[in-house]
Symmetry: C2
Subunit: 131 residues, 2 copies
DNA sequence: AGTTACCTTTACGTTAACGTCAACTTGAGC
DNA sequence: GCTCAAGTTGACGTTAACGTAAAGGTAACT
């Protein structure tokens, strides 16, 4: 191998199966301008980069991000900018995302504590029933 | 004071202001069965418990939970169950929520790393521009 | 040639979570 | 008594993120 990069390709249903989504969803993300797979005739052909982008979108989704927000994350991931102004704007976006994630982290920790307390109350109630 | 519990009340716009949402949103949550404020004639009167529930809903929202999911969280918070079966079901829900939060935590950590990398690339590109 | 398994586009349908009027009531202040 | 702010109940509108069906193309078996 004279090129270490993986040049695997995937059909739309390959990706749909792997990520447990429908092909409609994948085409929808393309309509939304977040994926631009190659074509063989009409048929879409995805590569590893597309696959990574899809991963980013789905992770964003699990975190409650909108597609618009995920799109921004993808753009951060792919800094094709060539002028300083855009790069500074990008940094500021990165900071914002960081702040949002910190908020989420805090929310999660509070929730985990509340779940602990809820379970404790639950167990307590069960003990009372047994007595 | 012979009762340490706070018995403050709030108008609908008090809460709307505090949490930066609209009154419509609060009424919507009531339609969805997640709040049941007292009434003075027609006017809704909220107490601290309602306020806490609202907080839970909004925190859930920040984490990307649907209202249905937040409703479940609220029910966990308020274990009025009196039979063992329900309590066991509740515990299982709590476990599920915990697992979901763990997934979110993992997602957040991955994302934070990627943001670090993205910023690094961004700074690198800026250094190149200066040279 | 026929069936099967994927793929495509086009287009209308659906659900959640509110937004946005419209038309009204109600208590406080002038 | 009038106004004004804040409350109310409908009821229809909107956006995001897909679902779902219709109608068809294509390549591979059998």
């Amino acid at each position: 191998m004279n090129d270490m990069a993986k040049h695997r390709t995937y059909s739309i249903s390959d990706l749909a199966r792997e990520f447990d989504i429908t092909t409609r969803t994948i085409r929808f993300y393309e309509e939304a301008g977040m994926l631009e797979p190659e074509r063989n005739g009409q048929t879409r052909i995805y590569n590893d980069e597309d696959r990574v982008k899809l991963k980013l979108i789905l992770r964003g989704k699990r975190l409650g991000f909108s597609l618009a927000e995920s799109r921004e994350l993808i753009e951060m991931y792919d800094p094709t900018s060539d002028n300083a102004k855009q790069l500074h704007a990008l940094r500021s976006k990165i900071q914002q995302s960081r702040a949002a994630l910190e908020q989420q982290l805090a929310d999660i920790q509070v929730m985990q504590n509340e779940l602990d307390a809820a379970e404790e109350r639950c167990l307590e109630a069960l003990r009372e029933l047994e007595s």
